[in-house]
Subunit: 977 residues, 2 copies
């Protein structure tokens, strides 16, 4: 370090240390306001997508600025430098993914400087999760995990002053109720966002209901979140973007021909007046920032300083506008102190339409294979986290591997990642990161299994191409393979397992050497036809497996004489009957021999005519975000070729729809659902038009326009065709797309007697456009670039052709009265976190089965072990979820002393949902609801309904009793040293 550098360092340290005032962050650090004035909270912020037009790293380093000017490293560099120059200045930092990347390369001096700014509330974290997640396509587990990662980084780095108080979902394309609940359970006092159906916004501006109390759970009364809608999107006041990326007028206050102070102040006050007229209190929040702004923060602050100065100077001549640097939390604090009462909100904010004819319902399905890959990532993350705890893996490399996947999954929740609204190159980079991270975490899983199975050389390979029925491990010489199944669910589970194999005979044996029934089924033609797929495994071996946590099965090639007879192939067109019945002990399917389509289903004692078909909405103006049909659906009129394969375990109808569509309809013995494995693509573009590819199931259930979709995989939301909760939506030009809703796990409809449900394996758009019908948007291909956003048409290709997607829908038909939606819940979990398959060469030896040191089978059936992971080296985070809603389950209690002991616990604390704050420290604002007069509408759920568990180093087992209300999740940190 040079001499001058040392002096500079000394000076900065002086600055950091000589300040005798105590750190005052949070609400106490908020700027003073003036009671009789319009208080303008000016909020400097930068919106930094963790990938959109550029990859995460490109956006951080400022690479490829030709594509998009974005360089987050410089934003943080210059913002910090600018905050140092004036103690009035503030900034909110939102995306912790970027902040952490920057923080890692800062000097100790710089870290001290920033810590000081944080401790003074001037550099304030808002939102604070790893990314600003989407709310339509995400599963709640992904959201909770990515908040855990982000908030943990902030907590470890800054302690309490680093903890955000306010959610900041300003760019997310619509808002889910589950997200609001998650915020509430993490102790957030409120959230702000800026995307809402334009008709909804207009209504709210008229009614002064832009800010509201959101009842965030149907099952858990009292879980609410103050939620505010911004006036002008999340960008600057029109005409007042002082950013280097903008071209609005700076404040020119010199002795210059261009001096514009009077005009600029007039204009800003005029704008502030407009804003203040649609909000209740005498406070307004004016965000100053936008996408990747503040790269040259000097420009922003210099001009904002002047704006503030000259606006406040007017007070001397009677102006009643008071402006100052603030933050969303300080604005919220002012609202809270106002003692006003607020309207409430119960449903959610889907779908979003930014203008007429522009429903953002396409992104519910955009990039279907990426959406599925994200599920694989979460799957591996949960498996690896659990296994790391079970095997006590704590080496640095293992931690790094897990942290990387945690972070990558955090990135994937981003509202331009899982949504599919990023550029293709960015999508490719997400895939690269996910692949690398999954491989890394699968090494952890392997290492854990080596320990647990006492097989130091066991391969425990993960096959990441099972989605195309391929696994390198089984395709060549897989004469003797050990398949180890890991069950991330809480309770023991029985599932059918499928493994790609050659067309041979195999014997499957369990851990005790007992032969397990198995069958070999052909892989569908369209998979086999994939040019990029090696064709040496044309079949799949199917067997039924059971695993508590870990189970091993031995697969051995045998002479065909030893094996049971092969599966039976039936060509239905060969006989003269008009229909083909495919049935097992629980389910009966009828296929129309003429059309080749499903005709009816019988199960759970209910029979219903259910016709399935595929269809396309053509479109020239759909994009990654929006779905805009040009006309009505074009269904497939042609008859489908089909073949039936019947075995004793599985029965499959292989449908050949056309050159680019095929499907397998499948039922397993003993499984009470019908599986539809669709394969679509390349969607033709010869007609130069885009396609929204759907499948629909038409029944005669009198659903009367009503249907249900899940909210991020948890509570069901009631939807009604052509209706919205709070406003009238103009659906005239988009009667289809405007009725689509995000389906992340389940869509259902029913009448008095029957209930029809579809479960899916990734997020998709879903609708009920006719009574009794459910429609799912499976795949999309477009040629239209909307110009305003991503700058590319959503036209995914692979090896030069349109992308092929493969996925599954699961149909359940049930009685509406005697029906058991609990089964749907359990199935959701099983589909979301099925067995993970690990492959090893058995080498002729029947290996000792791996054993889990922990067993959660004693937990009540309605309890889901949502999370089990190392939190720190000596702490384990564990989450228990009551996964039934208030209609399905009841309060349940259990004792976790055994778990505590098995984990070697020495102390335990209950925390907020994110794990980072002792629950007893959580104090949230109470806002008054307009309906209930002065009574607080938002009772603090966690404190009101249960006492936080704080059984620290006590032997008293009763202290380990955990009670869960329906839909409740409780989070604990168990100390192990």
């Amino acid at each position: 370090m040079t001499y001058f550098g040392r002096i500079l360092l000394l000076s900065i340290l002086l600055m950091v240390y000589v300040d005798p005032s105590k750190a005052v962050c949070g609400y106490e650090s908020c700027p003073a306001t003036k009671a009789n004035m319009v208080n303008i909270h000016l909020v400097p912020h930068s919106h930094n997508d963790v990938g959109w037009l550029k990859t995460v790293d490109q956006s951080y380093y400022g690479y490829n600025n030709k594509i998009h000017h974005a360089g987050v490293q410089y934003i943080l560099d210059t913002v910090v430098s600018q905050l140092l120059q004036d103690s009035e200045r503030r900034f909110i930092q939102v995306e912790t993914a970027f902040f952490a990347k920057w923080w890692d390369v800062q000097s100790e001096t710089m870290k001290k400087v920033v810590t000081k700014l944080v401790n003074e509330g001037r550099f304030e974290f808002t939102g604070g999760a790893w990314s600003m997640n989407d709310e339509a396509d995400v599963n709640y587990q992904g959201v909770i995990d990515q908040f855990t990662v982000g908030l943990k980084f902030l907590d470890e780095t800054f302690g309490a002053c680093g903890r955000p108080r306010v959610g900041w979902q300003i760019d997310t394309f619509g808002h889910s109720r589950e997200q609001a609940a998650i915020f509430a359970h993490m102790g957030y006092d409120g959230q702000f966002f800026s995307r809402m159906d334009h008709n909804d916004k207009d209504t709210r501006m008229n009614n002064l209901t832009m800010e509201m109390i959101w009842d965030a759970s149907e099952s858990m009364s009292g879980v609410s979140l103050f939620s505010g809608m911004l006036y002008n999107f999340y960008s600057d006041t029109p005409g007042f973007c002082f950013d280097i990326l903008c071209t609005d007028e700076p404040i020119i206050d010199g002795d210059s021909e261009e001096n514009n102070v009077k005009q600029r102040v007039d204009d800003f006050i005029s704008y502030a007046k407009n804003v203040s007229e649609v909000y209740i209190t005498n406070h307004i929040m004016v965000p100053m920032g936008g996408d990747f702004q503040y790269e040259d923060a000097k420009v922003n602050y210099k001009n904002m300083d002047k704006l503030i100065k000259y606006i406040n100077e007017r007070q001397a001549s009677g102006s009643n506008y008071n402006i100052f640097y603030s933050t969303p939390s300080c604005y919220l604090n002012s609202l809270h102190q106002s003692l006003e009462s607020w309207p409430n909100k119960t449903q959610d904010f889907f779908p979003y339409a930014h203008e007429k004819n522009s429903f953002w319902t396409g992104f519910f399905t955009s990039r279907p294979t990426q959406k599925r890959f994200e599920r694989d990532g979460n799957h591996m993350l949960q498996v690896a986290k659990q296994l790391s705890v079970l095997a006590n893996l704590t080496t640095e490399q293992h931690n790094e591997n897990l942290d990387y996947l945690r972070q990558v999954m955090g990135v994937m929740q981003h509202h331009d990642a899982i949504t599919g609204t990023e550029k293709q190159a960015v999508s490719d980079d997400y895939d690269r990161m996910m692949y690398e991270a999954i491989v890394g975490a699968s090494n952890n899983a392997r290492d854990a299994l080596r320990i647990l199975a006492n097989m130091p050389n066991g391969e425990f390979e993960s096959c990441l191409r099972l989605n195309i029925s391929e696994c390198a491990f089984t395709k060549d010489g897989a004469d003797d393979v050990l398949v180890t199944l890991y069950n991330p669910l809480t309770h023991s589970s029985t599932q059918y397992v499928r493994i790609p194999v050659k067309e041979e005979s195999y014997q499957v044996t369990d851990e005790k050497g007992r032969t397990v029934p198995s069958e070999v089924v052909p892989v569908p033609w369209q998979v086999l036809a994939l040019e990029y797929r090696p064709n040496d495994t044309q079949h799949e071996l199917v067997f039924k497996a059971t695993a508590n946590k870990i189970a091993s099965y031995h697969i051995k090639k045998v002479e065909s004489s030893e094996a049971k007879p092969s599966i039976k192939k039936i060509d239905p067109r060969e006989d003269e009957s008009s229909e083909t019945v495919v049935e097992n002990s629980l389910v009966k399917l009828v296929i129309d021999n003429q059309t080749g389509r499903l005709k009816s289903v019988e199960m759970n004692g209910v029979s219903e005519k259910i016709v399935q078909n595929f269809g396309v909405y053509k479109s020239n103006t759909s994009c990654a975000y929006t779905f805009r049909q040009s006309g009505d659906i074009q269904v497939f009129e042609n008859d489908f070729e089909f073949t039936v394969y019947e075995g004793s375990l599985v029965k499959e109808v292989h449908q050949h729809v056309n050159d680019w569509i095929s499907q397998v309809i499948r039922i397993y013995e003993g499984v009470n659902r019908v599986e539809f494995e669709w394969l679509v693509g390349p969607i033709p573009i010869d007609d130069k038009e885009g396609s929204e590819f759907v499948t629909n199931f038409k029944s005669e259930i009198s659903s009367n326009g009503v249907f249900y979709t899940d909210s991020n995989g948890r509570e069901l939301m009631k939807r009604e065709k052509n209706k919205r909760e709070d406003f009238v939506s103009d659906l005239s030009r988009q009667p289809v797309s405007g009725n689509f809703y995000p389906v992340t796990s389940r869509i259902a409809l029913q009448d008095d007697t029957k209930r029809l449900v579809l479960l899916n394996d990734r997020s998709q758009g879903g609708a009920s456009l006719e009574d009794g019908a459910l429609e799912m948007l499976l795949h999309r291909r477009h040629l239209f670039n909307d110009g305003g956003g991503v700058g590319e048409a959503l036209n995914e290709t692979q090896y030069g052709k349109g992308l092929i997607a493969r996925g599954k829908l699961y149909l359940i038909l049930d009685s509406a009265t005697d029906g058991d939606t609990v089964t749907e819940r359990k199935t959701e979990k099983e589909l979301f976190l099925p067995f993970w398959k690990f492959f090893s060469q058995a080498g002729g030896v029947q290996a000792a089965p791996a054993k889990s040191p922990l067993d959660f089978n004693d937990l009540p059936q309605s309890v889901h072990l949502l999370t089990l992971e190392f939190f720190t080296e000596n702490e384990i985070l564990i989450r228990f979820e009551h996964f039934l809603d208030k209609y399905e389950g009841r309060v349940t209690s259990f004792n976790i002393r055994d778990i505590f002991d098995s984990l070697g616990g020495s102390a335990i604390r209950e925390t907020t949902l994110d794990g980072n704050m002792p629950l007893s420290d959580m104090k949230r604002f109470k806002f008054h609801a307009q309906e209930s007069g002065n009574k607080p509408a938002s009772v603090e759920y966690s404190t009101a309904q249960h006492k936080p568990l704080e059984a620290v180093e006590s032997d008293e087992a009763s202290l380990f009793a955990v009670t869960l209300y329906p839909m409740q999740i409780r989070t604990f940190i168990i100390k192990t040293v």
Copy 2:
């Protein structure tokens, strides 16, 4: 100030003051280099046009960034902040106009910080004049003045460490020898530039002659300047623009998929290798910057830091590239220390062609009225400065007025101002500033005259619309007007004065009441036809006036009987003769009665057939910069109508060429030249083509391709058609435009017997395309926008029509052997600084004439009082110029003791040409010329040829003897207290 602010201030003060090391600026502060390596001098700089696409203020404040992203205030803000963060970082500041504007609003703390950076040589002024002036269209007086203003600001602000050592003319469109001489006389050690004819550059790259010693004066041997041509324009290394305005790759050195350190270092070294191969020493200079770059200096420095780090790290593995932050002066210092010898250069670098078919000769004439207005500005500046000294005007307002005009004139010298290469809106703003500044300075002149004339209420109005023969002061009731003439020249002068009047009879009397002969001449038809000109003065009163410094004439309306007979109007077509002779005692013109054109001239005992005509080169690809003809000249074939007005004082031939061209050919009794007052416009654009409008004079003088043009109004440069000094220019496609040269005062040709000269009243392009012919580019109008530059076609309009321009050329025909070019010199001065006319209502009283307390008539006739102005409140700057060259004049000496005493001098010091450094302090590098072996080629002129005058407070008159060599200018500061 907040608490934190105080701490910050304290810390910064600590930084500024505790550093015990002494300030080391200049060459001593240069970075260490490595002897056996290629030393890469990385030079951070920003090129900030003081007006181009945006006005000066718009560029400073960052207004109108839609038009051009430019905000100089932020550049300085962030650069200073970045320099503070690392003592290795450097920056050069060039345009003092912007720096001064920024400095004025800085806090004391910031000023101390910057001063420290300057004192350490890290924030280094390079160039340092008020603007980076043009070198083609400027007069030397404007250049000297604007360097005086810039360097004075730096000297007063920073002292010696603020003084630039190196010229930085990187964007100027070609380079004049006079500019190099001015640099030398101001003590600069060298200059760098980056625009040179591409064929010249190619040749020099092949010959290793990119850097040279320029013999900057033909008359003053030993005046030389080291001059270096940059390798890649003045912008960053291709691919290495790290600026926020750029999109090149940043250095990505993190653990990232995008990590590009190896590739980036490879690329940069590869580039450095290419550069080093065309320069002599093991040093190369790589400028890092460009137009308005460094607005977010963090981005630049952060990446340059990394580049430096990783390039130098390679040295450990054998790389011999050494890179560091440097400055042009440090680079020059390394070259000087290398003891290499350098090629020399004697002519200049005009015209510039950046590529084939692209000669930048259009800007020699672009915006002809603005070019003329600039002359008016200089005229008033010299008048007001002199008058302020004579009347001892030193109030704050007077100083402000003068400073403003000084600064505006500094701006006008800018290479996008006087050149006419700015956008129209910027040109309008220049006009606005000049107008305001001239009005301000004319108030000074008025106040001075009130004192000197003892007329406290005297109007002394300046008429700024005399260019259209209009003056508000004389048009109504101007029955009794006092015209006060101020003569800014050194010696008493006699000139014809023209004043717009009504068609009446007037009596002109001198200060002693004696009647002075006068005549009333009609204003030409095309001026009268100007729609925007009030038509109440259709005539001009002409009389011959003599003024030493100040003279007054009384103009009184009289009854026509009292007046002499009116001027005689002759319509030549009325008689049958084939020609009309117009002659006076010195000059005889012959007009062809058929064509109406000038046919021959006789004067100075020489007679020559001289035919004048007008012509147009059509063009579709000319722009403000370039002149690209589509084909040959189209001369006017039609016969010109003409009328002759003959008086005893003046004889005029009024030619009507067509609807948009007219001319007055004029001779005055006793004046040995012919005046051509042309009026052109609106140039038609009906044909959708652009026009280059010229006039040419064809004689039979056998000039053999050779002609002469002045260099910034001083020495004549020999030009030869289709030839260049050092290289072969490809003129095949532009035989016309490639032969144009800048003419700022004079163009001449001759053979053994006759010499033909044209003087002009503003800068214009001029050429001799045929032997004996001179051609001047008068006016331009284009429809083509070259796209790469100014972004507008050069299509000037006024009141909705094409701009009309009016100007004068002066023809002198003389003997080549007996001829007296001294007369040309004197005429140049008289035309450049004629009498300034002030108007007052006489009120019937014969006012006491204003008297100048100073008289310079005793100075030798070859000496020009170039400057007389207050330098500070108690100091007067005075410059004496020997305005003859070595062929015309000889060494002359004179004593200035009387002047010293008259000014109330108490001490005197001689300084560098700019006035800011005692001449005795000037120490310049001596570079070795290749031709002369080891003998220094550049003897220090001023010290070698004369001893600086340092007669401080001495009574000895001999110490006040001043000797001037031909073309020498000496600058003195006289202390008056």
